[in-house]
Symmetry: C2
Subunit: 207 residues, 2 copies
């Protein structure tokens, strides 16, 4: 007697999502075509739209899911009650690993916001979350105590982000200029895990 096979497909949707991430990443949203994605996933366009309704829905589904999870994890980190310096090292470490695994996220976010008016950020209330985060408070308190220089938290946050995100977005350029293969690039990113916090702390403690 044959085994039951009852439930439909466990992972067609995941197969499509993974294919879509890959294609969106290399082609951008506009540059990607539904035919490309379907081919990469080994299915046809009709099936893709059966599961995700449209190209735009498919994109949003990937985008929201990855970014939402990531943002939640960063917010938790920002609000942790660890000392400032430890926190900065942890942020850099976790953020770097996440970005190496999910390079499409910053590229999508940057592209989206150029045209879309920050809709996702508004939905997640990013502005208030940053402004009221324990991290922001810590920077102010430490400055008052005189352990670091006084600083606009936005500059610290965007210096961190620039240093973390830029290498991922500019990966092909870095690999070319530094003659780095896959392993070489990973090595480069591991080195940055040390350099970035050192640089931020050196700045905060100087003067």
């Amino acid at each position: 007697m044959p085994r039951k096979k009852e439930v439909v497909n466990p992972d067609t949707e995941n197969k499509i999502k993974e294919a879509a991430k890959k294609v969106f990443l290399s082609q951008g949203y506009e540059g990607a075509t539904v035919r490309q994605i379907a081919q990469e996933a080994g299915v046809n366009v009709a099936l893709m739209n059966y599961h995700f309704q449209s190209k735009e829905q498919l994109f949003k589904s990937i985008y929201m899911e990855s970014f939402g999870a990531f943002f939640g994890s960063i917010v938790r980190l920002l609000n942790e009650e660890t000392p400032l310096e430890v926190k900065i090292w942890k942020i850099v470490d976790r953020y770097t690993d996440f970005l190496i695994e999910n390079p499409m996220i910053p590229i999508f976010v940057l592209a989206e916001h150029r045209k879309d008016g920050n809709s996702l950020f508004k939905e997640l209330n990013v502005r208030e979350v940053v402004k009221t985060s324990y991290f922001t408070k810590q920077l102010q308190e430490e400055a008052e105590k005189g352990t670091i220089r006084p600083v606009n938290p936005l500059h610290v946050i965007f210096s961190l982000m620039g240093n973390l995100i830029f290498p991922v977005v500019a990966r092909p350029i870095i690999s070319y200029v530094g003659s780095l293969d896959e392993a070489g690039f990973r090595q480069f990113m591991e080195e940055r895990k040390k350099i970035i916090p050192e640089m931020i702390m050196a700045y905060l403690k100087s003067r």
Copy 2:
């Protein structure tokens, strides 16, 4: 007797180029349409193609021109025989001003290199120019003298670039999170002209 009017149009091409910069910047290469560009320029598609042959040629014409000029200016700066710290301040200052005026350049460059295999960089021989630049040599010499810590020049260069380029690429995000209008963003960038060199120098001099 009527004045001569001899030469054809002085600035149709410039009008089209400016329109194209604007549209490519907000829509990306794939997202932009030739109709949009033509409308923005106040001409029709046929005229646009009369001057620039195709969408791709138009893009390359803008891209090559702006990036080539910019790269030339940076190379001159890297090779100037000014002291390291002065040079870093000058690079940040000039680069920031350029990027505020030409935000489409990094966006184009990053998008191009994700798909195109660094063709422009190879043509300009960026790798060798960086490796043999006086700036790279300076970092090594100063480290030997013990005035700064020993460091892989690539990390310095990409930290500089990340800090300079990221705010331009992420401008809508920064403006949203910081509640900044046009003037507020410029102010933010002016502040960074001071913070970025201080941060790099604090790192190089620490330990």
